[in-house]
Subunit: 288 residues, 2 copies
């Protein structure tokens, strides 16, 4: 683990690709983190390929493009790897009948359709159950998901459908700052009813990182993962051989690092105060 | 374990009370099991106290009285111990502020109000979360339960509310004979989100049997439990010292008995083809 600002330690390694987590790295809520848009521009000027990664279960890439543009980062759908799109890619690759029973939001459904999958209403026709969150941003089960607990249970129990989940995230802060349930809470219900655990595609699963690496086309040893969480961002990226950068603009604070055990610490290659220091790591100007 | 019809073995014991499970013992769906109403009448004529037990999470005793009367069994609310009413009794006895946050149906809410509890809308005011099923008989999350996943999570996490569940039943057959989720499926969601397991009041918890014994006022050794399920009816009743009778008109078949291990078998005092044989056990005429 290297501290980067202050002393300069340049790895000498030539990087080709960067995967950037979004929340806590590039933005907090709807606001950009200072210097994030400029850093993305600079990385691109330096010739690096950049992919943006989010575990969000509710939006399609088309929708999420707007989120990043609104904070001054210019992206196209193909620059994004979302849990929704990575799940659609995975299921499309593994499906025979292309018939899926979906729990979740319109953004997930869009990605599944885009991948050529057929969304069925009758759970007993399904080859896959794809689970996102049935809850909206206020914590209500959405109108169209009111029967989806039953549908998912029937697809799994009666049609032996394979069970795939967009992410395992149990709780989020709602618009009032208090917890609201996410996909992981729904998964708990289905596991209780059926005894079946899903295959998770989103972070901390390595599957979403493999999709991101595929999209970049860069070898792991020449690719950097930048995130604000140890468990979901750093550990799986390190397992795949990426260089890992933890930034302190999100959920992990300097205090947390001090309490961390040495094995976990050893998975973090660099700790930066913010994403801006990345430019220095890849060989550009000093930007602490 | 004694087989009863054919050979006659009379225990010589003088029984004073009988707890009758309802589904699979007195009725199947909306139809009475042959001889059930007459058996109840005969038990009462012989001077036994009779309590009817159901794990149902959705109905109040007032509502459930109609169900039994419709199959020809004359009962009053005080003859019934339902998971809803037993839960209300338990919470009322243990509550300080009387404020409860309820997930479930109107029948449960009625029982809680009858027990003097105050149903709060703001989860952070709650001393108890009382969980029944948020699903209706078609498997939809009911309109009024759409926010209850969030509410239960907030009551537990933010107000440290105690978590009590009406029953742990995960699945039921829906009106189309296919599975629909029950309380236990909801509990799986809340446990996933909060890490907290509820105290279960309904079967197979012994708590509901204690409520039934209290209501009967008879000592366990002079009380019979009649049920159609080993795990929910026989085992907890035996633990409390009741005489246990398994009837073969419900979920357990003769085949299942043959596969059963000896320890489990030893918890069943009598196996009857139907509830009708009960009259012989308590000293009335032969009714195999």
């Amino acid at each position: 683990m290297h501290e980067f600002c202050g002393d300069v330690r340049v790895s000498g390694r030539k990087y080709e690709g960067v995967i950037l987590d979004i929340d806590g790295v590039l933005k907090r809520g709807s606001k950009p983190i200072l210097g994030a848009p400029e850093t993305v521009n600079k990385l691109r000027e330096l010739g690096l390929k950049v992919i943006f990664l989010s575990n969000l279960s509710t939006k399609s890439r088309e929708e999420y493009v707007q989120t990043l543009r609104s904070i001054g980062i210019n992206v196209w759908p193909e620059d994004l790897v979302l849990a929704t799109s990575a799940t659609a890619d995975y299921v499309a690759r593994h499906s025979k009948t292309r018939k899926v029973y979906v729990v979740g939001h319109e953004g997930l459904m869009k990605e599944l359709r885009r991948a050529g999958l057929i969304l069925v209403n009758d759970p007993e026709e399904a080859e896959f159950v794809v689970a996102g969150s049935p809850f909206d941003e206020k914590g209500f089960v959405t109108e169209e998901n009111r029967w989806k607990f039953t549908g998912a249970i029937r697809a799994i129990m009666l049609a032996n459908a394979k069970f795939v989940a967009v992410n395992p995230d149990k709780l989020f802060p709602g618009s009032d700052g208090k917890p609201i349930p996410g996909t992981g809470t729904f998964l708990g219900a289905i596991e209780a009813a059926t005894g079946v655990k899903p295959l998770i595609i989103g972070k901390p699963s390595r599957l979403i990182y493999k999709v991101a690496l595929d999209r970049l086309g860069t070898p792991p040893e020449k690719t950097i993962m930048v995130g604000d969480q140890i468990y979901t961002d750093i550990l799986p990226a390190k397992e795949l051989g990426l260089t890992t950068v933890l930034v302190l603009t999100g959920i992990t604070r300097r205090d947390d690092l001090e309490k961390m055990d040495d094995v976990t610490k050893s998975k973090i290659d660099y700790v930066f105060n913010s994403v801006r220091a990345l430019v220095k790591l890849v060989g550009g100007e000093k930007q602490c």
